[in-house]
């Protein structure tokens, strides 16, 4: 097991290096001179040249790349041009917003998706099965930014059930400790605030959960159907075990692998979808952070933001792969 994990970690090194190189290239390829962006259009040529020299921009590209890599190793992600704050200091609240949103979305997707899949398989060809699978088909085709807007219209503007946007009630802001507001409000015992934060999360969470939920429901259904035909399930049934227990205890365990795969694969989609969801619901997440970085040509922010997200994505995939081999030791990748 340890050997497998070590091998997987070693395999990651070229991918991570490649990622840093691609991000480095992308930033260099974006038109416009960072020095000019920092100093503004009115800057004198000497000032621009001086700043270029101090930023190391007049060095050959490979020197710049290795400097950049060296900085990364010491945890230096650069300084935002717009806010003049080190990126590694200001990035956490944004990341926390996205974490909270993604985690909430995955939770909804797994709870509803897995159960819908199980019930569909259990009552195959029933009206529930048909309805759930049609909804799942529609779900995978959903433009989540549109779903978000439609939910805002119905649940906030028409019915006034849920807040339209944001993370918290601006008149009663949450005191940030970890920046994961659900956790922060619980730590402080502010259950009223916890409820408010939760209400703010419901619509963006559902919008973001839609596609993974639909895929999880379809995958769970098909793997459950396969498992439920197997001999040991028939034995369990023959021994007189209640169908409910057979389904949830015996079958589900074997349907975990495909579901795990989907969760692993969907993380990328989720992180990407977070950009759209955050735009619609005005959430200050990492997607907004990068997007605003692009709008204001804030190179260090774009560079580090993209790299951090890609790094998280790679790590989650690694964790999913390791979980596979723990749950089902037959799976070991070369």
């Amino acid at each position: 097991m340890l050997q497998y994990i070590i091998r997987r970690l070693l395999q990651l090194i070229p991918v991570l290096l490649g990622m840093t190189f691609i991000v480095f290239l992308i930033i260099r390829a974006i038109p416009g001179d960072p020095a000019l962006v920092i100093l503004g259009q009115q800057a004198t040529e000497e000032a621009v040249a001086a700043l270029r020299a101090s930023l190391g921009l007049d060095e050959p590209w490979y020197v710049q790349y290795f400097q950049y890599l060296g900085n990364l190793f010491t945890g230096d992600l650069g300084e935002s041009i717009r806010t003049r704050t080190p990126v590694n200091e200001e990035i956490w609240p944004y990341l926390a917003t996205t974490f909270e949103l993604s985690f909430f979305a995955i939770l909804i997707a797994v709870i509803i998706g897995v159960n819908a899949g199980i019930i569909s398989a259990w009552f195959q060809n029933s009206w529930f099965d048909y309805t759930a699978m049609i909804l799942a088909l529609v779900g995978v085709s959903m433009p989540i930014f549109w779903l978000g807007l439609m939910m805002q219209y119905q649940f906030s503007l028409q019915w006034d059930w849920l807040p339209t946007s944001g993370r918290e009630d601006v008149r009663d802001p949450v005191t940030a400790i970890t920046n994961l507001y659900l956790l922060d409000t619980l730590i402080q015992g502010r259950f009223d605030q916890f409820w408010t934060v939760l209400k703010h999360l419901i619509m963006p969470g559902i919008a973001l959960a839609t596609i993974p939920m639909a895929i999880i429901a379809r995958m769970t259904r098909s793997s459950m159907l396969e498992v439920m035909k197997s001999d040991y399930i028939r034995t369990a049934r023959a021994k007189g075990e209640k169908m409910f227990w057979v389904v949830y205890k015996h079958s589900l365990k074997n349907a975990v692998i495909p579901v795990l795969t989907v969760i692993g694969l969907q993380t990328g989609l989720l992180l990407g979808g977070a950009i759209l969801t955050e735009t619609i619901f005005s959430l200050p997440g990492i997607g907004r952070y990068i997007y605003e970085g692009i709008s204001s040509r804030d190179y260090p922010v774009i560079q580090s933001g993209i790299l951090v997200v890609a790094f998280i994505f790679v790590m989650i995939n690694l964790i999913v792969d390791i979980l596979y081999s723990i749950i089902d030791p037959r799976i070991r990748y070369n």
Binding site: P143, P258, I290, V309
Partner: protein, 299 residues
């Protein structure tokens, strides 16, 4: 001495009892039976026809402003209502099909062409060619796709054409990986060995044997990828990084009407519905094609 041996007449060629069915015909037979796939294909056809005949279907031009009739709700005169410039939303949605289908189709053709080429090279030549190409795919897949698309558009500048290029680029590794694994198995087939034995050139083996035998997964993946590409183009349009106003691209229409959510929700409802239906059509058709042509692809 015995009589000279009679020359035996060659036996009459055995007539096949049944007509052999080609895999394509077999696939078509299965596809026709799949009702959901047929629904998907009908939706796709509907949008294709809408795109082709847009000038005849749309009652008004895409940028024809009718200010006295601004923000009209859906009615018998304006089926999908009008926007804040008095433009007919139905006409714009109909013309939008042209943009979305073109972007979806061209982006997929682009990524399938480049991806297949790289996949074939990696799979056929192996060794360092494979290592370099496969690692490149790994690295590209390590970025969430929409993020990579945003990064590409930020280099090229926001426009519909650049969004198309970005979508084509981010989908290359999906095709590349698929074809690579297909080539790896096709390469071991006897007819490839035979082709090598008679001295056929690598290029000819690749393009007249390996590629045609890897076609089914390309077609299946292609039809599903059109769905994703349409969605990605709409997402980029929505973020202001794809089609620009006043182009009637569905995603850009949503972005332009966002402020009208309270006042005129129909300006947002119909373009979004069009995106969803078009994507649904390609997804259903792609699922059906996969089940009919390449059931092994199903995970």
């Amino acid at each position: 001495m015995g009589e000279p041996a009679k020359i035996q007449e060659p036996p009459a060629p055995v007539q096949p009892q049944e007509e052999t069915i080609s895999p394509w015909k077999e696939g078509w037979r299965k596809f026709r039976k799949n009702k959901i796939a047929l629904v998907g294909t009908s939706i796709v056809l509907f949008f294709v026809l809408m795109a082709i005949f847009a000038p005849w279907i749309a009652p008004q031009g895409i940028n024809e402003q009718d200010l006295p009739n601004r923000l009209q709700p859906p009615s018998s005169e304006f089926w999908f209502g009008t926007d804040d410039f008095g433009r007919d939303i139905f006409s714009r949605v109909v013309y939008g099909a042209r943009i979305s289908l073109t972007v979806g189709f061209l982006a997929v053709v682009g990524s399938a062409a480049v991806g297949s080429l790289l996949g074939i090279l990696a799979g056929y030549y192996g060794r360092w060619v494979d290592t370099i190409i496969s690692r490149l795919f790994d690295i590209m897949l390590a970025f969430p796709s929409i993020l990579l698309a945003i990064a590409v558009v930020s280099i090229l500048g926001p426009s519909l054409r650049n969004a198309l290029i970005a979508i084509a680029i981010i989908n290359i590794p999906n095709f590349g990986r698929l074809i690579r694994s297909r080539v790896l198995s096709v390469k071991e087939e006897e007819y490839i060995m035979a082709a090598k034995a008679i001295g056929m050139s690598d290029a000819r083996i690749l393009f007249s044997h390996v590629l045609p035998n890897s076609m089914t997964p390309i077609i299946v993946q292609g039809s599903l990828a059109v769905a994703t590409a349409i969605l990605e183009a709409a997402a980029l349009g929505f973020l202001g990084l794809g089609a620009q106003v006043p182009q009637p691209e569905w995603g850009a229409m949503l972005a332009a009407s966002r402020a009208l959510l309270v006042q005129a929700p129909w300006t947002l409802f119909f373009p979004g519905l069009a995106i969803m239906l078009a994507v649904l059509g390609f997804n259903l058709m792609g699922d059906g094609l996969r089940d009919a042509l390449d059931p092994k692809m199903k995970t």
